[in-house]
Structures are given as structure tokens and as C-alpha cells.
């Protein structure tokens, strides 16, 4: 058992980009696994919500990867790392649970398209998912590294086209069980 720092939207789908909310509010499949395993839940801030707002367009990593957005993510990452340091100092195991496919919160899969910009008229289904991590997760991982704090990393997959709830649950249980 330990403490899971979860992406904001896993407890609040209202923070998602428009047309991206998969349920009314709390995404229960992740909460259920954490409860079953006895893990404490801590919600991370949504880095996109406060910076680009609720009316933001769907975006890929390259569009968000500006100096200003990096500074914003670094500020948030420092605040989250402060909380993680407290829990790690109490001897708790730590895992981070991001959201695969997100340009900010992706752990192993992010969204990328170097050509995207200008008038938004790209066709539905453009292949933007690619291996890599989102900007906030990258900044947080680096911040924890500077502090010498180890954390497990997992990504929730409900935004991916091949999402399978049982597979996702098994992966999450494995991440938590390995610690």
C-alpha cells in the first residue's frame, strides 16, 4: 500500500478538453482499484485547465511546448513534488497515474504532430498518438529525480482507441502490487 498521485481528470472529468469527458465526473475504474488495494488517493492539478482554460482546443505536445507552459508545469510539479516528498518521508510507496494519449499527462503515450497549427481543420482520425510522455509528467519526473524520490509510473488508457477496461485494471493492479 502507499499513495497514488492521480491525474486531476480521473476524479473530475469536467476538466477535460471539450468533447473529451468520458463520464459525468469521477472515473470510477481507477478509484475502485485504488480502494481495493488500500491505496491513499491524492489528486494532482490539471496543468492544461488553468493555463489554456476550459474552452481550449484539442492540442498536441508541440502546440503546448512553450517556455511559458514549461514554467507553468514546473511550478505545478514543484508543488506536487513537495506533497510527494512529505508522503515519501513517511515511508509511503508512491505511484503516479497519468492519462495515456495526453500531451501533458501521458506516461508512455502522448499526442504529437509537428505540423499542427493555424486554422484547426485537420481530419478526424489523424494519427497523433505516439510513444512518449506528456510535458507535465516529464517535468514532475525530473523534479522527483532531482530530489532523489522514486515513484512508480502508470497511465490510464480510457482515451486510447484500443482501451480495454480489464487490461487497464490488470496493469494498474500490477503497478500497485509490485510496490
Amino acid at each position: 500500500m502507499g499513495v497514488a498521485f492521480v491525474a486531476h481528470c480521473l476524479l473530475n472529468q469536467n476538466s477535460k478538453v471539450g468533447d473529451g469527458a468520458h463520464c459525468a465526473g469521477i472515473y470510477s475504474p481507477v478509484v475502485d482499484v485504488l480502494r481495493d488495494k488500500g491505496w491513499r488517493i491524492e489528486q494532482m492539478p490539471c496543468p492544461e485547465l488553468a493555463f489554456t482554460g476550459l474552452n481550449r482546443f484539442w492540442a498536441v505536445r508541440e502546440q503546448l511546448d512553450t517556455a511559458a507552459y514549461r514554467r507553468h508545469c514546473q511550478r505545478l510539479a514543484a508543488a506536487v513534488a513537495d506533497m510527494i516528498a512529505v508522503r515519501a518521508g513517511q515511508g509511503e510507496d508512491i505511484v503516479l497515474i497519468g492519462v495515456e494519449g495526453s500531451p501533458s499527462m501521458g506516461v508512455r503515450i502522448t499526442s504529437s504532430d509537428p505540423a499542427r497549427g493555424g486554422l484547426p481543420e485537420w481530419p478526424e482520425g489523424t494519427a497523433e498518438l505516439t510513444s512518449g510522455e506528456g510535458i507535465f509528467i516529464e517535468e514532475l519526473r525530473q523534479e522527483l529525480g532531482r530530489r532523489g524520490i522514486a515513484a512508480g509510473l502508470g497511465g490510464e488508457t480510457h482515451a486510447l482507441p484500443d482501451h480495454d477496461e480489464l487490461t487497464q485494471r490488470t496493469r494498474l493492479e500490477s503497478l500497485l502490487g509490485d510496490r
Binding site: 476524479l11 469536467n14 468533447d19 459525468a24 465526473g25 488517493i41
Partner: protein, 127 residues
């Protein structure tokens, strides 16, 4: 594409209802059943300076939701929250300190639907 299913309803939730002590009220399944999102407030055992930073981030996000007409409520309380909200020009949302799950569910379900007039571009059957 699947319709956007957001509820436009968010509860600021004290940590003791997110990570309840033994025998305490777990608010998350109640919120999920009622279709509300949660914004977790920092636990009471965080040092004051860490809690203040977290409350500032929570406030910044609450401000964005409030600006767009989302309904906000407070479940429980957190020292410093009122001051953080006031610094952004926000009042403390309607609040409940629930005695049990039924009381919380009744409180949430009695709220009127938020107007959210600026979101007309969402898929029509989503709100």
C-alpha cells in the same frame, strides 16, 4: 465520437472524505453516483506552506470553472480555503458537512442544473 459526458458539477472535497478514516464517509462513490466531479483539498497533515500552494492551485482551477458557470459545492472544510478563494474574488460555495452518504446524496441531487450557456458547441445530447 462519443458525446462529452461532463456534468458541469464539481465538489471541492475535504481530504477526510476522499481518504476516509476507518468508519468514515467515503464521498467518492456518492459523488460518482450523483454525477459530480471532485477537486480534492489538501490533507490537514501537510505543512502550512505546502497546503497554501495547493489551495492556490485549487482556487485557480475553481475560478476557471466558476467563470464558465459550472456548479461548485464544498464537502467538509479546509483551513485557508476561504482566504484562498477570496483572493481570487470567489466566495465559499454552498457547503455540507455530511453525516452519512444519504445526506450527501440528497444535497447533491437537490442542486439545480447549472446554466453553462457558453458550451453550446458541445455535442447536443451531452448536457
Amino acid at each position: 465520437m462519443k458525446p462529452d459526458e461532463r456534468s458541469f458539477r464539481i465538489a471541492l472535497v475535504a481530504d477526510r472524505y476522499v481518504n476516509p478514516p476507518r468508519g468514515g464517509l467515503d464521498a467518492l462513490p456518492v459523488l460518482a453516483a450523483a454525477g459530480w466531479g471532485a477537486m480534492q483539498l489538501p490533507a490537514d497533515d501537510y505543512p502550512a506552506e505546502i497546503a497554501a500552494r495547493v489551495l492556490a492551485e485549487v482556487t485557480e482551477q475553481a475560478e476557471e470553472f466558476s467563470r464558465h458557470g459550472y456548479d461548485l459545492v464544498l464537502v467538509g472544510d479546509r483551513d485557508g480555503l476561504a482566504e484562498a478563494l477570496a483572493a481570487a474574488g470567489l466566495g465559499v460555495p454552498d457547503r455540507i458537512v455530511p453525516s452519512d452518504a444519504a445526506a450527501l446524496g440528497d444535497f447533491l441531487n437537490a442542486r439545480p442544473a447549472p446554466p453553462v450557456s457558453t458550451w453550446s458547441w458541445l455535442t447536443p445530447d451531452s448536457s
